[in-house]
Structure formats: structure tokens, C-alpha cells
Amino acid sequence: MNRWLHHPAFSAQVTVALLLLLLIAGGIRYPGFAAPQVMLNLLIDNAYLLVLAVGMSLVILSGGIDLSVGAVLALSTTVAAWLLQQAQWSAPAVMVVVLAGGALFGMLQGALIHFFRLQPFIVTLAGMFLARGLCYVISVDSITISEASFVEISQTQWSVPGGFVSPSAVIAVVVLGVGIWLAHRSPFGRAVYALGGNEQSALMMGLPVGRTKLLVYGFSGFCAALAGLLFGFYMLSGYGLHAQGAELDAIAAVVIGGTMLSGGYGYVAGALSGVLVLGVIQTLIAFDGTLSSWWTKIVIGALLFLFCVVQRLLSRPVSPTA
């Protein structure tokens, strides 16, 4: 019993248990809450956040943090909308450019962090300013996307048992799968964990520290750009104010999912439970209808607090110096 309580996976299990508890409570309290389509909508509405959280998971596992993802998401929607509407590019070309741009943006941040030994926090914070600023350089107003294939994707519904899913939700699940494979099955993933555990040791073991760092931030940038495309499908517009604060939601989701912010320990799959917890809280509040939007923030804050404390009190010490 004690051993199980102190096992590092405990906080991840607590999350899943709490998620189930929330779902059951919602199902009892509100009629129609437990409908399969409501559950599928959780995935559809939060597809972009799941993609962000997968990228963020790897960054946090490597012991870093990426505050630029929300802004890169917004920049991607703006660039995509501008290229489609103003420059009349074809949809596939736009997607390739946006995804490559996001990956490049992330890798540049990784390069600054690695080569100049700068703090990830400050580099990605500046990256956030840069990306949000660039949105407004492109357009101060929201650009509506009316390009045919984007509209088509946004309206596609694939039926599954119990309801339907959007392509975005499927893409998000695929990204989650790729993330899990990368983190837990590939040499790259092992290097990420080693880096998060102890950078000095990783270096001495001959792991490619620099390359891993660049790739981690590149992957996060790519995920942010992909999330931007998904968000673009969802909103059918590009705007610099899209997804404000999404980086913090993504970090919260990763932490709630049981990944250590200090790096080196956690599961990418935890991103899914974290995102679902945030989504369920919002769905509960929407179903209730009497709670105001600010209660969402307070409840999310309280839950974040709960998880951090549970993690801190129940899990092993993060490091002897802490």
C-alpha cells in the first residue's frame, strides 16, 4: 500500500481516478451528460489543446518549458488565413509552410536555449511576444477563412459508434500516438528523459544533448503550428488573439496528467487525461449553466493546486536540493 502510494505513477493514477469521478458525478447530476457524443465532443473541442499538450509534454520531460506555443498557434492561424485569402495559395502548400514554419520557430528557440545557455522560460517568453507581435504585423483584424478545402475539413464529420468525430480529433489522437511512441519507444525519447533527469549525466553518457534540445523545441513548435491549423479548422479564422493563455492550459494539462515540471519523469499519455480533466470541468460548468465563466478559472486554479500538492506530498522527492 505504502509502496503504491509513493510510486511516482501515483499522481497520474489519481488524475485518471478523478477524471472518472468527475464524469460519473456529471452523469448523475445532469441528464444527457454521459451521452457518447458529449464525450466525443470533449475530444473535438479540445483537439488543439491535446496537440499542444503533447508537444509541451516532451519539452517538460526534457526539463524545459515552452511559453510560446499559444502565440505560435495564433501565428499559424493568421499566416494560414493570410496565405489562403490574400495570397491565394493552395491549401496543401499553406499547411506545409505553416507546419515547417512552426518547427523552425521552435528549433530556433531551442538553438538559443542550447548554444547560449539561456533560460527556456525567458527565451520562449520572448518567442511568445515575437509570435503574437508578428500576428499583428500580418493583420490587426481577424481574417475569415473561406477557402473551400478548409471549410470542407471543418464541416466533415466521421461517424463512429455512438456519434461522430471531426478530422481534427482524429489528427489529435494520431499526434498523441506519435508522441507516446517518440517518448517511450524511440532513442530520441530516452535522450529526452535522460536530459530531463540530469543534463550533466546525459552529456557524460554521450547522449546528443544539443540535438535533442533542438528537436524537442522543434517538435513543440511543430505541434503548436499543427494545433494552429486545427484551431483554424475549428474557428475558420486567423487572429492574433486566438488561444490566449493556451500555453498555460497546456502546461496545466501536462502537470495534471502527472508529468513532473522539473523534468525527467512522466507520461505523454498523461497529456490526454490532463486535457480531458480541463475539458470535463468546462463541460460541467456549461451543463450547469448557472456558474459564471470566472468560476471556470477559479476551479481550474483550485484543481491545479490540488494536483501540485498531491504530487508534491505523495511522490518521491524531486531532487535532493529541492
Binding site: I65, L112, F115, F116, R117, L118, Q119, F121, I122, V123, L125, A126, G127, M128, F129, L130, R132, G133, L134, C135, Y136, V137, V140, G240, L248, I251, A252, V255, L261, S262, S292, S293, W294, W295, T296, K297, I298, I300, G301, A302, L304, F305, C308, V309, R312, L313, T321, A322
Partner: protein, 322 residues
């Protein structure tokens, strides 16, 4: 390092000051507008000096502003309203302090909780409304003048002088630095690190609360949704620009003030030049990247290596000067 910082800060400062002659707003206006940021930066300096970070500054601003506006509108005397607002800020700081020093959560995640929930709390208090204040005595702090200078500046000066004296004349400054440099060593040396860290968060939140009062008084209302939005990032930026290291152990209160002034001057300059205001985010990002790279300890060896790589191939042109 201090020299480099001065070299970075002063030319920029002078450059912009000369430019001010061509601007519409006088220098005093910039100073007045920078006052809340300067206060927030003072608090943030100490937090960063202890290796921490406080991302809840904006939320505390919103809470303090809302509390003050509510009480003033409820007919309470000004002193009560101010005291209550500062008290609320103090509580926020104590909460952060307990999480960081007591529960030993990572500062960014501990303050993230208040950042998310705090704004929600402020909105809850204000019932989602923007509270407009009609009481003229409330406007004094943000818009009043004393001896020809804005009162807000006198407040900033008072806080800055008190803090500096306290840190210089007592061992407190040394202690703060010691905790930032090596928390374990300073604890072993008999410092009460927990209390010190707790104190810095309380101080930071109180500064933020004062900044919130100033902002509310200046715009004659409290907007729980937007007051102090992104102020924490600007404050972190100001402190970094001022030459403090995010890795802790180093701080320059005066540098932070200058950093805050640079940011405000940058913003005002861009506004006055008629450039879309959002572009200042891009400029800010560039300035941060540049400063971080210049401050980076990796730069000097890197530059030396680059020079050595160039030198053998570089031949003085025959007959040319040297």
C-alpha cells in the same frame, strides 16, 4: 557584468531620451505611465534574486484594483479601501509564499495557480463588471501631482528608496543574494531561507497590489478582466533587462527600474510614431533576445573562437592602414 549592463542600459536610455524631444508626450508622462510597471519590477527583482519567479503579478493587480474600487463605491473611506486592497495583495503574496517556501512547489507552477484563479476571483468579486469609480479622491494616486511631479512617481521613489536602504543597510540584501546563489548552502549556513523566500513573495505581491491601485486610480475604474494583463511578463522583462540573472543570486533594483522605463519608453515611442501598437511586442521580443544573448556567458568564448577562426585568413591589405 555590471559594466556591460550599464553599457546596455544607458545608451538605450539616452537614445530614447533624446528622441523624446520629438515626441508629443513629455518625459514625465512616460515616467508616470511606467510607475506601476516599476513597482511590479521592484517586487519581481527580489523574487527573481531568490531563484523564483512570480507570474501572478497581473492577477494580484486585478484583485487589488477590484477590492479598492468595490470598497470606494460602497462608500468606505479611502484609507480603508487602500488598506483592504493592500491586505488582499498581502494575502495573495502569503499564499504564493506558502506554496513556494512551505510546500516547495516550483515557483512558476505555484504562482501559476494564483495567476489562473486570481483573475477569476477578481471577476467574481466584481461580478464580471468593470467597476467605475466616481470618487475624486480615488484619482489622486494615479493622476495627482505633488511638488510638480506625479504622486505615483513619489510612491515609486519611496518604495524604491525604502527597499534599497533596507537591503543595503541591513544584511537582508546579502541574505537574498545568498539564497539565490545556493539555497542549500545558505540554509546550512543558518539562514532562514524559507522565511526569506516567503518574504520576497509577500513583498512582490504587495508591490503588485500598489501597482493595481495606481492603475485603477489612473483609469478611474477597475477592470478585473484586463487590469494588469501581461504585466508579469513585462516585469520579468524589466528585471532581465536590468541585468538580473533569472538563475538567481543577482539583482539590481536600479537596473530593474531602468528596465521598466526602457519598456515604457519603447511602448510610448512606438505609440507616438503611429506604428500599430501591437508591433511593440515584436520590438520587445527582439530587445530581449539581443540582451539575453549579450548577457550570456557563452558569448565571450564564442566570439573569441569566431575571431580566432577569422584571424588567420584575414590579411591586412597591402598599403592599407595597419
Amino acid at each position: 557584468m555590471l559594466l556591460i549592463v550599464d553599457a546596455i542600459c544607458l545608451p538605450g536610455f539616452w537614445h530614447l531620451e533624446i528622441k523624446d524631444g520629438h515626441l508629443y508626450g513629455p518625459l514625465i508622462d512616460i515616467l508616470n505611465r511606467a510607475a506601476p510597471l516599476m513597482l511590479a519590477s521592484l517586487g519581481m527583482s527580489l523574487v527573481i534574486a531568490t531563484r523564483g519567479i512570480d507570474v501572478s503579478v497581473g492577477a494580484v493587480v486585478a484583485i487589488a484594483a477590484t477590492v479598492a474600487a468595490m470598497l470606494v463605491n460602497a462608500g468606505q473611506p479611502m484609507t480603508v479601501a487602500y488598506a483592504a486592497a493592500l491586505g488582499a495583495a498581502l494575502l495573495c503574496g502569503a499564499w504564493n509564499g506558502v506554496l513556494v517556501a512551505g510546500l516547495k512547489l516550483q515557483p512558476i507552477i505555484a504562482t501559476l495557480i494564483l495567476m489562473v484563479a486570481g483573475r477569476g476571483l477578481a471577476q467574481l468579486l466584481a461580478d464580471g463588471q468593470i467597476l467605475t469609480v466616481y470618487q475624486p479622491s480615488f484619482f489622486v494616486l494615479g493622476g495627482g501631482y505633488w511638488l510638480g511631479l506625479p504622486i505615483s512617481l513619489w510612491v515609486v521613489a519611496a518604495v524604491a528608496v525604502t527597499t534599497t536602504t533596507l537591503l543595503r543597510k541591513t544584511a537582508l540584501g546579502l541574505f537574498v543574494q545568498a539564497v539565490g546563489l545556493n539555497p542549500v548552502a545558505s540554509r546550512l549556513a543558518g539562514l532562514r531561507t524559507g522565511t526569506l523566500i516567503f518574504g520576497t513573495y509577500v513583498f512582490a505581491a504587495t508591490c503588485a497590489g500598489l501597482a493595481g491601485l495606481m492603475i485603477a486610480s489612473n483609469i478611474k475604474s477597475a477592470d478585473a478582466n484586463n487590469a494588469g494583463l501581461l504585466l508579469e511578463l513585462d516585469a520579468i522583462l524589466a528585471v532581465t533587462l536590468g541585468g538580473a540573472s533569472l538563475a538567481g543570486g543577482k539583482y539590481h533594483l536600479a537596473g530593474s527600474l531602468v528596465g521598466a522605463l526602457i519598456i515604457q519608453t519603447l511602448t510610448t515611442t512606438i505609440y507616438s510614431l503611429g506604428v500599430p501598437p501591437e508591433i511593440n511586442m515584436v520590438v520587445k521580443a527582439m530587445v530581449v533576445f539581443l540582451l539575453c544573448i549579450l548577457q550570456s556567458s557563452e558569448l565571450q568564448p564564442m566570439a573569441r573562437r569566431a575571431l580566432q577562426a577569422i584571424r588567420p585568413t584575414k590579411r591586412p591589405p597591402p598599403g592599407g592602414p595597419r
